[in-house]
Amino acid sequence: MTTDVQTLTVVGTETSRTRRHIISVVSHVLLVGASILMLYPLLWMLASTFRPENEIFSSSSLWPSSFSIDSYIRGWNGLRVSFGTFFLNSFVIAILCVAGNVLACSMTAFAFARLKFRGRNFWFALMLMTLMLPYHVTLIPQYVLFLNLGWVNTFLPLIVPKFLASDAFFIFLMVQFFRGIPRELDEAAMMDGCSAWRIYWKVMMPLSLPVLATAAIFTFIWTWDDFLGPLIYLNEMRQYTVQLGLRTFVDSTGESDFGGMLAMSVLTIVPVFLFFLFFQRLLIEGIATTGMKR
């Protein structure tokens, strides 16, 4: 789109056109080179998982000489508990976190963006301040709290905070989106006697699917990749997430079973990669818009 405008406006002399052509070729060469450099490690990892074990260290090519899925089979059962359990745990935690974040953050954002009540600006300012807060400063007392509640070694410390709108980032994201929805819509509903809850649920939510989807996908990916939370709260191997499982794999068999370790690494990336493949636009727009807000 912008290409056409730019090229049209600079219909200059012949030399400047050649010059532009050269610059464009050079740019493409640079970008292709950078792309290869960026992707090579990932592709190499993928290729290595299909190689026989003894070939992994000796080959830097991206095409295995022979295909075998032994690494995946060995890796899947490489620990006392199979990776199937870790995947199941990670999915359960991630999906519940998504539900919590989408529900609680949107309720909070709705109150800040649309409802009128005393002290709103004050609480909103406090909420914004928590955006910058490093979680380390609450980590230890939270741990003590969850320990006293008997929640250590359960998924609860990882999930419950999401239902309490603890991710200020998503509240902020949703407030920005809600503010862009025309007020006439909820005013009309208000005139018709709709309660705040009905306006939230029947008017705002259906209109906010893009931002809800963005929040859901980011929550899924960040929960999936979270390492410190599970590391602190989950001690039983049966409850491990994929990240903890991988790390245990490295510590116990990593040096001896390289193929298995890389194969499991690839598998843990697959769900995130699928989100990337199918929802790339939403993710990129989500990032671009948060960055543009002052």
């Binding site: 960026m38 609680a104 009540f117 979680y135 309490l164 671009a288």
Partner: protein, 316 residues
């Protein structure tokens, strides 16, 4: 303020029930807002404010999770600054990491964003390729990959061997180990790049055309138009990336096996905090570390905002 009644009609409804007393009116006006905020309030006080104050208190105690904490005054902080070589090492490592990874990452992000913004064909594809590492970079899997890439017989050394260079084991050499983590951070330049791209798009093209007509070189246009107009985005990216860099944990943990070795060369601040809290259960000392981290981040943020009026250009 005057828009309140018009905006929600709540006051009109409030007037209707006025006879039921002042409480009913307050409920009518403020009730829904506070009800919607209820989950957030529980979280805010129960999981943020309460724990913050608790950890501030704990930082002045010798809490070890098992026995009741004893008040020991500021001795945790005194020990931190005077008698803890590991703390000093963690500070050095973290600051080195922040100072090199953030500017390099942002420079890369801006450079590639400017290349992409020239209206090249295939922009969505390039953007996607460059963004992918940011999305998966924080995972354990990538840390494992990195450990392999930079190990003694890893991919990097295999590549260098083609030129007859016999590379060291980058991961286990204290001179290079931190650099492998800095490279890992730069590799994830995609998300600031996307924000830069969005910012570049907002710069009006006619400014460049006017500048070209006046004979300004591309170099001059970059310094006089692009960069000044982009400073709000640079500002945002710099703050976000710096805070992220301060909080970086997983790569260092996985690559060093949770130790911060060799010779504490990858002992990130957060890794040291984790060791103290959950390795040695010195929760009081770890709380002091956490509060000092908060102070550093707050000081950095405040400093950025205070100086921003001298270098961040807002067009209004």
């Amino acid at each position: 303020m005057t828009a309140r009644s018009m905006e929600t009609g709540v006051s009109a409804a409030g007037r209707a029930v006025g006879t039921q007393g002042v409480w009913a009116r307050i409920w009518q006006q403020d009730g829904p807002g506070y009800l919607f905020l209820l989950p957030w309030f529980i979280g805010f006080f129960g999981l943020t404010v309460g724990p913050m104050l608790t950890s501030l208190y704990l930082s002045f105690t010798n809490f070890d999770l098992l026995t009741t904490p004893d008040w020991i005054g500021a001795s945790n902080y005194v020990r931190m600054f005077t008698a803890d070589p590991k703390f000093a090492a963690a500070m050095r490592v973290t600051f080195f990491f922040v100072l090199f990874s953030v500017p390099l990452k942002l420079a890369f992000a801006l450079g590639v964003a400017m290349l992409l913004n020239r209206g090249l064909k295939g922009l969505p594809l390039y953007r996607a390729i460059f963004y992918l590492p940011s999305l998966i970079g924080a995972s354990v899997a990538i840390a494992i990959l990195w450990r392999q890439l930079f190990s003694g017989d890893g991919l990097v050394n295999q590549f260098l061997a083609n030129f007859g260079i016999d590379g060291p084991s980058w991961i286990s050499n204290p001179r290079y180990s931190l650099w492998t983590l800095i490279i890992l951070s730069i590799w994830q330049f995609g998300s600031p790049m996307i924000i830069f791209l969005a910012g570049l798009r907002q710069i009006p093209q006619d400014m460049y055309e006017a500048a070209s007509l006046d004979g300004a070189s591309k170099w001059r246009q970059f310094w006089k138009i692009t960069l000044p107009l982009l400073t709000p985005v640079v500002f945002f990216n710099a703050i976000v990336q710096t805070i992220e860099a301060f909080k970086s944990f997983t790569p260092a943990f996985v690559i060093s096996g949770g130790t911060g070795q060799p010779i504490n060369s990858t002992l990130f601040y957060t890794l040291y905090l984790y060791q103290e809290a959950f390795g040695f259960f010195r929760m009081g000392y770890a709380s002091a570390l956490a509060w000092f981290l908060l102070v550093m981040i707050a000081a950095f943020t405040a400093f950025s905002f205070l100086t921003s009026k001298y270098w961040v250009h807002y067009d209004d």
